[in-house]
């Protein structure tokens, strides 16, 4: 299975995010370090906040609407809040970001 090239890592600001449109809805790509990217669904399970607009810290993001914090690795809400976001595989190779098309098509839209 060939992975899809979705763009250059430098197009995402360090400790920032961009979105990718997919048949499953918007997926957020977070750049947590020089060469580290995570992908999750862009919708906060609380009230639908766009997670790609949150503050990225360590390997977590804080939702811009009401400050729920999610682990980008597990997709789990941290602390007292209860919730889960979908996570997707991403690879970074030679400065390009790659995603698995099978995974993007196979999951049911959340």
């Amino acid at each position: 299975m060939s992975w899809i090239d979705v763009g250059a890592i430098d197009d995402i600001p360090l400790r920032g995010a961009r979105i990718v449109k997919t048949p499953l809805g918007c997926i957020a790509l977070f750049r947590t370090d020089e060469a580290e990217v995570f992908a999750t669904s862009d919708r906060c399970p609380h009230k639908g906040g766009p997670l790609s607009e949150g503050i990225v810290h360590g390997k977590s993001v804080t939702c811009p609407l009401h400050n729920w914090v999610f682990s980008l690795e597990s997709g789990e809400a941290q602390g007292a809040d209860d919730g889960q976001i979908d996570t997707f595989s991403v690879r970074v190779k030679d400065g390009r970001i790659l995603m698995n098309p099978a995974e993007l098509g196979a999951r049911s839209a959340a």
Binding site: P13, R15, I19, E36, G54, N67, G105
Partner: protein, 812 residues
């Protein structure tokens, strides 16, 4: 009959291979050794001590003429091989000699990469690779200026070596921190600081554009931001490329390097390769350890014995001119990882372990690298660390040892660091008073005046008491900024000033942050403190801001945005209104509302439309209203003398002037002003952060009002006679609020802490201080008084669009 072995290149790798060969079978081959450099094998690694003057060339020779004679090596130094005929098995030297070989070894090393900038071929532009380069650098001394491009190991060694001779050295590095491949940001910060202490200027994030020369000789390096760095010598240390030209010409398989298999054989069975010139299993090499492993295999293969080269995980333990650093494994890349961070600001120590699946996979250490090999062993062995996770970072000798002292940031302060800004009291003065018997806060206040004015340094004074007196002083509990650190907002602010911390990396390290880069609570605060205190040196970091301030629009509950253009002092024109109406039509704005701040809000705008909408509004002269910012919001006005029968002064005019003066500035919380033309106060100036009530004899300046969650009336700070005086006073109040208040304290909250009397002393009674504050405000405004919309519409509009659209692609 003996076979002919020809070796191309007398470097460290081929030298080691020959040693191994002679040890195993001294008489197997007749060896001829060519070297382009006019000398035999020397220790290239030791060129840096030679440069620094700690060693001579003679000290670093690995093989001298005696060694070559003892082993019957025919030396042809200063001679290059220029061609190879693989069919008849001969090499051709640059003087035309043709020599037959049975076996041939490539040990041609690397070529330094020279960036093809305009001017790269000028005299005085050199690399750092061999003895000749080293000698050119050693010829520089006091009064000479040298620029080094490249902040990796080589560049820094070159810089440090020359700085030791008194040369004025500037390092220009394109990445955000030094040695980014071996170190993370925090360790890179510590390294930069230590080089700066040695007198080296370090410019990170700096892009070289052109090399200038006079009479064919280098004279300066130009950066793309227009900076000109004059120099008499320019050293490029930006990387190396395997030297493969000859091999490629001879038809051997090459990629980045000369392809070799596990036996170090090239695509020709009679030709081997060793050292930096080869590529093995996709990897090329730049450090000697793996080259020595290769050399062993080369010797065995030449003797027809079984041997196999395998690549190992590498650690780098480096000593860049007296700074201890260590890095190993993978410390930045790939998901599924967790960090353990330890910082000791007092000792300048930073350690970070990267954990994946209960194993250490990477480590970066600075300042104290004693445990490096222990961690490295665990990386190689894949040791399970779940049992020792809590204490792991303290290393093998820790069993019940101490965690870092929360007071270490204060302990590390030099005695001349200013603790009390109001009274200019340094740590040394306080320590002296304590040693003279001042045993508590009240006594310190009485004897030094420290913390006796606005009181925001109280926490720090208490910490100095604790550090000096130890357990005999009882520290009151104070609320830290967040879980990432032990300090209060006030302490952090004072320490940023006292220790002159000018980057986030500096704050994390020097104030002992427990996380890699803070969290959503502390990062916006630190970003604000840094930009308020160091407007010129620090660059605002959008990624440390809440979305509204990053995107310059208010996010709505459905993820759309609202756009509020500025209406200076509440005044608009038919043209502006038409532009707003056109934009509302063009971008299908569902709601147009008049705000409580005397302007118009366009609500429900799609994120992707923001840049083009702003572009349209900009064309009509409208700029961002910062309705989203912790910064200047609105200056409300009434009609004043222009129209009103009661007006005493031009309240509208002053409001517009104030808004044009203050807009764009960032403040601890939002800042709202109003100017009313008479005490009837139609502009509601008495519930604003700063309000002006015009009276016949001048202007009453009010402070500390709010009409949000609490309704608080202002208090009068002072009265001034002219508009100019009012402007200066308000600049000074704004600036002292910017420099002192805790992040997210509105003016009234801050005044409650520092006292109205204190504020009066600073800005009303002290004319000199008032002017200095107003000047500092103006300096900061030279950077921040600009329309963010214009910049985003022009340069950052991509960020507002999706990175990719896979809706069609992935659906197939």
């Amino acid at each position: 009959m003996k076979q002919n072995l020809i070796v191309i290149g007398a470097g460290m790798a081929s030298g080691r291979a020959l040693e191994q060969l002679f040890a195993a079978a001294p008489d197997a081959y007749d060896v001829t050794l060519f070297n382009a450099e006019p000398r035999g094998n020397y220790d290239r690694i030791m060129l840096s001590p030679v440069l620094a003057g700690d060693k001579t060339y003679e000290d670093i020779i690995i093989h001298d003429s005696q060694w070559y004679a003892d082993n019957n090596v025919t030396c042809r130094f200063g001679e290059k091989i220029v061609a190879i005929d693989r069919v008849v098995k001969t090499v051709t030297a640059d003087n035309g000699d043709v020599l037959p070989y049975d076996k041939l070894v490539f040990g041609t090393g690397s070529n330094p990469f020279i960036i093809p900038l305009p001017g790269h071929d000028l005299d005085g532009v050199i690399a750092y690779r061999d003895l000749e380069d080293t000698q050119l650098m050693m010829a520089k001394g006091k009064g000479d200026k040298v620029v080094v491009i490249g902040g990796g190991l080589l560049g820094l060694e070159a810089a440090a070596g020359m700085a030791a001779h008194g040369v004025d050295v500037t390092v220009v590095h394109i990445m955000g921190h030094l040695m980014e491949r071996q170190l993370d940001e925090a360790a890179g910060y510590l390294l930069k600081k230590s080089l700066e202490e040695k007198g080296i200027t370090v410019l990170c994030g700096a892009n070289s554009k052109e090399i200038k020369g006079t009479d064919g000789k280098v004279s300066a390096l130009m950066l793309d931001d227009g900076t000109e760095l004059p120099c008499d010598l320019l050293v490029m240390a930006v990387g190396i490329r395997p030297n493969i030209a000859l091999a490629t010409e001879a038809g051997l398989a090459t990629g980045r390097g000369i392809h070799v298999d596990d036996q170090m054989l090239t695509s020709d069975e009679n030709i081997l390769g060793v050292g930096e010139c080869v590529e093995h299993d996709g990897a090329v090499f730049g450090l000697v350890a793996p080259l020595y492993d290769q050399a062993k295999v080369v010797a065995k293969t030449l003797l027809g014995e079984e041997a196999k080269f395998t690549q190992k995980t590498l650690s780098t333990k480096l000593k860049v001119t007296g700074c201890d650093l260590f890095s190993a494994g993978d410390f930045a890349e790939g998901p599924g990882r967790e960090d353990i961070v330890f910082r000791d600001p007092a000792r300048g120590v930073y350690k970070r372990l990267v954990i994946e699946g209960d194993k250490i996979i990477g480590a970066v250490m600075y300042g104290d690298t004693a445990d490096g090999s222990w961690f490295f062993q665990m990386i190689k062995d894949g040791t399970e660390i779940s049992d020792m996770r809590e204490t792991l970072i303290f290393g093998p000798s820790y069993q019940g040892g101490s965690t870092v002292d929360p007071l270490s940031a204060v302990a590390a302060l030099p005695l001349d660091a200013e603790i009390c800004g109001c009274n200019g009291i340094c740590k040394g003065t306080i320590v002296e008073a304590i040693n003279d018997g001042a045993g508590d806060l009240a006594a310190v206040r009485a004897s030094t005046k420290a913390s006796a004015s606005c009181g925001t340094c109280t926490g720090l004074v208490e910490q100095v008491l604790q550090v000096t007196l130890g357990d005999s002083f009882q520290m009151p509990q104070a609320q830290p900024v967040c879980g990432c650190c032990e300090l209060t907002h006030e302490d952090v602010r004072r320490l940023i000033k006292a220790k002159e911390l000018k980057s986030q990396a500096a704050v994390w390290q020097e104030l002992g942050w427990k996380t890699v880069n803070g969290c959503h609570v502390c990062r916006p605060a630190i970003n604000y403190y840094l930009l308020a205190d160091w407007p010129i040196e620090y660059q605002d970091d959008p990624q440390s801001r809440f979305v509204n301030e990053r995107k310059h629009a208010n996010i709505q509950k459905d993820g759309t945005y609202s756009v509020v253009p500025r209406m200076w002092g509440g005044i608009t024109t038919p043209d502006e209104l038409r532009a707003i109406a056109d934009a509302a039509d063009k971008y299908n704005v569902p709601t147009v509302k008049v705000t409580g701040g005397q302007r118009i809000d366009l609500l429900g705008v799609k994120g992707a439309d923001l840049p083009s909408m702003w572009y349209d509004l900009n064309q009509a002269g409208l700029v961002s209203g910062h309705a989203y910012s912790k910064g200047l919001r609105t200056v409300k006005t009434c009609v004043g003398t222009d129209h009103c029968r009661f007006g005493t002064q031009d309240s509208t005019g002053l409001g517009i002037k104030l808004e044009k003066h203050l807009w764009g500035s960032w403040t601890p919380h939002k800042l709202k002003l109003a100017v009313s033309g008479c005490p009837r106060n139609c502009a509601e100036a008495t519930c604003k952060d700063i309000g002006v009530i015009c009276v016949d004899s001048g202007y009453e300046i009010h402070v500390g009002g709010a009409a949000g969650m609490e309704i608080i009336g202002t208090v009068v700070l002072c009265k001034v006679e002219t508009e100019d005086q009012a402007m200066e006073m308000i600049s000074a109040i704004t600036q002292i609020y910017r420099e002192n208040a805790k992040y997210l304290d509105r003016v009234h909250k801050w005044i409650n802490k520092v006292g109205l009397e204190w504020l009066k002393e600073q800005v009303v009674d002290d004319a000199e201080q008032r002017k200095a504050l107003a000047d500092r405000f103006e300096l900061s405004q030279t950077i921040y008084r600009k329309d963010p919309w214009a910049e985003h519409a022009k340069e950052k509009s991509d960020i507002y669009q999706p990175l990719a659209d896979l809706t069609t692609e992935a659906a197939e």
